[in-house]
Subunit: 423 residues, 2 copies
C-alpha cells in the first residue's frame, strides 16, 4: 500500500487554543496512520504520488460526539415548544417511526451522506430503541465511511407506548444487537441508557455490568435542565447528585460521554474530572430549548475533558463548522451572563474542541500527531473575496464562520479517501 | 403589462406572531403591485398565464435593515478581538480599500448577487465614506435588483488617517453624492452619520438640516455597548442620553433607523417610540462582539418598531434566514439572562421582524397586503426528509433554521422576477 501524501496549507490543533501551521506542507500517512507533517517532502518519499491541493487548507476532520440519528428528519422544527411538549409532539413520534426498516434505511443513508459531505468523520450517536434500525444505521455509516460509536437506546420507563421497552425486552434486545454488530469494522457499539428518568434501576444495573464485562463505552445525558435534575432527585432519593445515578451502576468512567452538563456544579464537575468522563457540549441545543449555557470555560480551566456535539434535533446544525461557531457564540453568551468576567472561547479553542478533543475519545492524540488514524478534510476557500492577504489562521476562522458552497474538496476518514471534488 | 400570478403554498406575516396561509393559492400582482392572495383564481384572470410552483412555499422576501457593505470581504474574521482592536485591525483598513473603484466594483457586484440569491430584496446599507464607491454600490444593487437605501458614511473625527474626512469635505462630498444618485430608480440615498463619536457637531448639524430640507431618511448606531455610551457622554456633556445627541440635530424621527439599541433603557426606548424611530436588532453582531443582548421582547411589548439587520461584518451571516434564526436564538439567551422571565421570540415572530417589519420602513403594509410592491421568494423544500406530513408553518420553521441547498426557486423584487431556477 503506497503512502498517502497530501500537500497544501496544513493547519491542526495540537492543544487548546494553539494552531500548528505548515504552508506548502506535506501530510503523510502509511497504511492509514499518520507519519507526520513535513515542510519539505522527506527523501524516502521522493517520486511517490502526491495529492497536491495547491493553496487549499488541509484540516483535521470533525468529530460529533452527541447526536440523535432518528431525529434527523425533524431537524429545525418544533423549537418554539417547551421541552416536554417538544418531546411528545416531535421527538418520540419521530423516533417511533424507526420501527420501519425501510424508513430507517432511507433516512440513515441520507444522514450518513450529509455527515460525510460536511467533513464529520467521527461520531457518537444515539439511535432509537429499535435493534434493526440501529444495525441499519451502523451499516449506512460504515458504507459512507463515517466512523465511531452507535448506541441502541435503552428506555424502559417514562416513554410513550410506541416508544418504550419492557425491562427484559430491553436487555434481550441489547444482547442481540451486540451480537449482530460484531462484524462492523469502523462503527462500534456504545451502551446508551437514554437518561436516568428513562431507565429502571434494574436496567441500569444490567447495563453497568455489561459495560464492565465487555469493556464497552457508555453515553448518556446529564444535568441538562433544572426540572430534569429535580426529577432525577425524586427518582433517586439515595443520590445527592444526578451523576451518582450513573456512578452507582458502573456507568461512570473514562469511557463515558455525558451530554450537556449545563448545570453541573463544582462537585459534579470534580466527579467528572476524577473519573475521566468526557463532557459533550451542545451549544445550539442548550440555547434552542432554553436549557441554559454550560460553563465550558470553567470546565476547561478545571481540566475536564470537553468535546462538542450537534445534538440534532435539539440542535439545529448538523454541520460541525456551525457547531464550532455555536460553541464560540455560546461562550460569549456565558461571558455576558457572567457579567463579562469569564473569557469566551477563541475560534482556535472551539476548533480544538470540535476536532482534537473529540478525536481523543477514539484514542487519537491532538492534531495530526504521528500514529493517529488519518482523518482529514481539504477546504478550498479561494472563491471568497479578500480584504487583504489572509493568514492560514484567518482562513480557518472564516471557514468556521462562513459556510462556503462547494468548498470541501476532499474528505479522508480512517485513512480512506471518501470524497473528492475537482476545483 | 399582464398580471403576475404566482401559484403555490402562500405564507405571509400579517402581524407579529401570526401567519396567513393559503395552500394552492394565487398571489396576484399588476404593474408590480399586489392585488391580493386568493384561494381560487378570480374570474377576471381566467386564461392569464400562471407561474405554477406546485407545492413550493411562496413567502415574502427579506429585508436587511443594517449592514456595512464594505465589510463584506472580512465577513467571518477577527471576531476574537475586542471591539476597538477589531475596528483598527480589520474594519477601518478594509473600508479604506474602497478608495479604489475597481476593487469596489468587484466586491459590490458579488455582494449584490449574494443578497439577491439569498432572497434579500430590500436593504438599508452603510457604504464607506467614498463617494465614488458609494455610487458603484448603488449601481450594482440596482443592476442586481436589490432595492432600498444606501448611505455614504460621514465621519470627520476619531477615524484613522486613511478613513476620515475633513468636515467641509464631508459636507461637499455628501452634496455631490446626492446630486449624482438622483437617477437611480430602486436604490435611494439615506444620510449616514457613522455614529456620534465619528461626527463633529458641525457635521451633525449640517446633516440634520439636510435631512429636513430634502426629506431624507437617516441611519446610524445607538447604545451598542457600555463603553461607547460612556464615550458619547463625555463628548456631549449637555445630553443626558445618547439618543439626544441625534435628536438635538434633527436626526431623530420616523424616518430614522438606529442599529443595536442593546442598552437603551426605558427612557431612551420611550423616546424612540414617541419619535417613531425604528430599532434595527442585530443579534449575531451583538453576540459576536459581546455587546450584550438587546431587550427585543420588551421593545415589542412597548410598541416600538423593530426590524432586523445582518450587520455584516460584526454579524457573520449575510443570509437573512440565518439572521431570523439568530434573533430567535438571541431572545432565548435574553430569556435565560432574565431568569426565564421574558418570553422568547417564536419563529413566526422572528419571521415577521425579518419581512413585514423591515418592509414597513419602505412603506409596505404587513404581509402580502394589496397595494404593496411585489417582493416575494419561492422556496422548494421537497428534498428534505419528512418525519410526518408537514404543515406550512412547520415548513417555514424548517426553512428558517435549515439552510437548504438550491432551495430558492425564484425571487421577485419590486414586481420584477430577478432570478428563477427550475426544480
Amino acid at each position: 500500500m503506497p503512502a498517502t501524501i497530501l500537500k497544501g496549507t496544513i493547519v491542526s490543533a495540537p492543544s487548546l487554543g494553539k494552531l500548528d501551521i505548515t504552508e506548502k506542507g506535506y501530510l503523510i500517512a502509511e497504511e492509514g496512520r499518520i507519519k507526520g507533517v513535513f515542510p519539505v517532502l522527506p527523501e524516502q518519499y521522493a517520486g511517490a504520488p502526491v495529492e497536491d491541493y495547491g493553496d487549499a487548507l488541509i484540516l483535521q476532520s470533525l468529530a460529533d460526539l452527541h447526536l440523535h440519528a432518528p431525529q434527523y428528519p425533524m431537524l429545525g422544527m418544533g423549537m418554539d415548544l417547551p421541552l416536554l411538549d417538544w418531546l411528545n409532539a416531535y421527538t418520540f413520534p419521530t423516533e417511533a417511526r424507526f420501527a420501519d426498516p425501510d424508513y430507517a434505511r432511507d433516512i440513515y443513508r441520507r444522514l450518513a451522506r450529509e455527515l460525510m459531505e460536511n467533513g464529520t468523520t467521527r461520531v457518537c450517536m444515539f439511535s432509537s430503541l429499535h435493534r434493526e434500525a440501529t444495525l441499519i444505521l451502523m451499516e449506512e455509516l460504515e458504507r459512507a465511511g463515517v466512523t465511531g460509536y452507535v448506541g441502541k437506546v435503552n428506555m424502559d420507563r417514562n416513554g410513550i407506548p410506541a416508544l418504550q421497552e419492557e425491562t427484559e425486552e430491553s436487555k434481550r434486545e441489547t444482547l442481540l444487537w451486540l451480537e449482530a454488530c460484531q462484524d462492523f469494522q469502523h462503527v462500534k457499539p456504545i451502551l446508551t441508557p437514554r437518561f436516568t428518568p428513562s431507565c429502571t434501576d434494574g436496567l441500569m444495573d444490567f447495563l453497568g455490568k455489561l459495560a464492565a464485562e465487555r469493556g464497552l463505552p457508555v453515553q448518556s445525558h446529564l444535568s441538562e435542565n433544572t426540572g430534569e435534575i429535580q426529577w432525577v432527585k425524586e427518582l433517586h432519593p439515595d443520590c445527592s447528585q444526578y451523576w451518582e445515578t450513573y456512578a452507582k451502576y458502573g456507568l461512570w468512567n473514562d469511557r463515558t460521554l455525558m451530554a450537556h452538563c449545563v448545570w453541573s456544579d463544582e462537585r459534579e464537575r470534580a466527579a467528572m474530572r476524577a473519573a475521566g468522563v468526557t463532557v459533550v457540549h451542545c451549544a445550539d441545543s442548550n440555547q434552542n430549548i432554553c436549557s441554559g449555557v454550560a460553563p465550558v470555560r470553567r470546565m476547561l480551566d478545571e481540566g475536564l475533558k470537553v468535546a462538542l456535539g450537534s445534538d440534532i434535533a435539539g440542535g439545529d446544525h448538523l454541520n460541525m463548522f456551525d457547531v464550532v461557531a455555536a460553541s464560540v457564540r455560546a461562550s460569549k453568551a456565558r461571558r455576558m451572563q457572567d457579567g463579562w468576567e469569564t473569557d469566551f472561547l477563541t475560534v482556535a479553542e472551539g476548533w480544538y474542541l470540535g476536532t482534537s478533543a473529540g478525536a481523543a475519545f477514539f484514542g487519537g492524540r491532538p492534531g495530526f500527531a504521528p500514529g493517529n488514524s488519518l482523518h482529514a478534510i481539504v477546504l478550498d476557500d479561494g472563491d471568497l473575496p479578500q480584504p487583504h492577504p489572509l493568514t492560514p489562521q484567518e482562513r480557518l476562522e472564516r471557514c468556521v464562520y462562513r459556510r462556503q458552497k462547494n468548498a470541501l474538496r476532499a474528505v479522508w476518514s480512517s485513512g480512506r479517501l471518501l470524497f473528492s471534488r475537482e476545483k
